[in-house]
Symmetry: C2
Subunit: 210 residues, 2 copies
């Protein structure tokens, strides 16, 4: 019962934070949507800031875990590893599209919590991406290029559908929470890796293996 | 004098909306930062919502104008046109990086104003991009591909540095308002067009012309 109310609160909070924004949502709104009283929210999350922190940690703990798991396949090659990483991260985003959308909006603000997230999770993310790119350059799998600019592009491609879900649905008629989107967009992300990163040698080797 | 106060209000509002968020900023904060009284803000913009609307219109009017101007060069070829479009839009974003950052964050919310912006400006944007891609396919300059998925990627690449300015500065040490960034990142955007869109014929023709 208690676990159910915690989950219901979290679900309602993500939905409301996403559509109305964090500052535009009150504890009372969340309580009403989750069908609990405010005291139950206080019991589980202390206050609205506690709920926000829980959302951030919940999202980024899983995000970094996916990266770490994918990174463990680095010995198979930088391209294989990066393709697995993008597949796993895209899948994670598709499964948590509302949470991702709201988290990314909040991450664009200049707050204490955002700074803490950056100095922990996003530095770790940079570390893993940097490692993959460096191995790719070293093994001549990837063409040399500025790592921060590659990270910018890869993150831009990965985040865009989830930062602009209303736009995606209502202007482009693309639905980022659907499996069809995930399959189709993953091909584009992998094409980006093939075309923008891989050397001709890597592409030829890959073609032979196929 | 009046024009100066209007500009000072706008500048202060963009700065505060960007760092503290729209809902996190009060008219009093803006008045204090712009060194005017609240009545002056009311005189120029009515209220906070009026100020927000002004920011949106100010941003998207210029944005669409840049697109229209670039689109006028379509007869020179789809690739040339799209490269000019990305160059002009990137330049516009770099010059208005704080405004872009705040506008994109607000655009992720589900509000009446956002829906109006989508049904006017973002549909126009889609129209121009679609035209360019279609001409590119027709003239065998671009490889056929799903237009909504191409728009997603191009917009993701273009918006990312401005949606995450704190991250760019503090994690990647990249400064999206600087000329150095603009020059370097434009090369990446153009490389994306060359590698992801252009057919081998286009690339060879381009090489001969150079």
């Amino acid at each position: 019962m208690k676990k159910n109310s915690k989950e219901a609160i979290l679900k309602a909070a993500i939905l409301l934070f996403n559509s109305k924004g964090y500052t535009g949502t009150s504890i009372r709104d969340i309580a009403s949507a989750a069908k609990v009283n405010s005291a139950t929210i206080a019991y589980h999350f202390e206050n609205k800031a506690g709920l926000l922190e829980y959302c951030f940690t919940y999202f980024f703990e899983q995000y970094i875990k996916k990266m770490e798991e994918a990174y463990s396949s680095i010995e198979k090659g930088a391209m294989v590893c990066l393709k697995r990483m993008t597949a796993d991260l895209l899948h994670f985003h598709c499964e948590n599209s509302q949470l991702a959308s709201f988290i990314y909006r909040e991450m664009s603000l200049d707050s204490q919590m955002v700074r803490e997230i950056m100095s922990t999770y996003l530095l770790k993310e940079k570390y893993y991406l940097q490692k993959v790119f460096e191995r790719g350059f070293e093994w001549n799998e990837f063409r040399p290029h500025s790592i921060p600019y590659l990270i910018t592009q890869l993150k831009g491609l990965l985040m865009m559908p989830f930062m602009n879900t209303h736009y995606m649905r209502e202007v482009l008629y693309v639905f980022p929470n659907e499996q069809f989107f995930e399959q189709k967009y993953l091909k584009d992300l992998h094409l980006w890796i093939d075309k923008m990163l891989c050397t001709d040698i890597t592409r030829k080797r890959e073609a032979v293996l196929k």
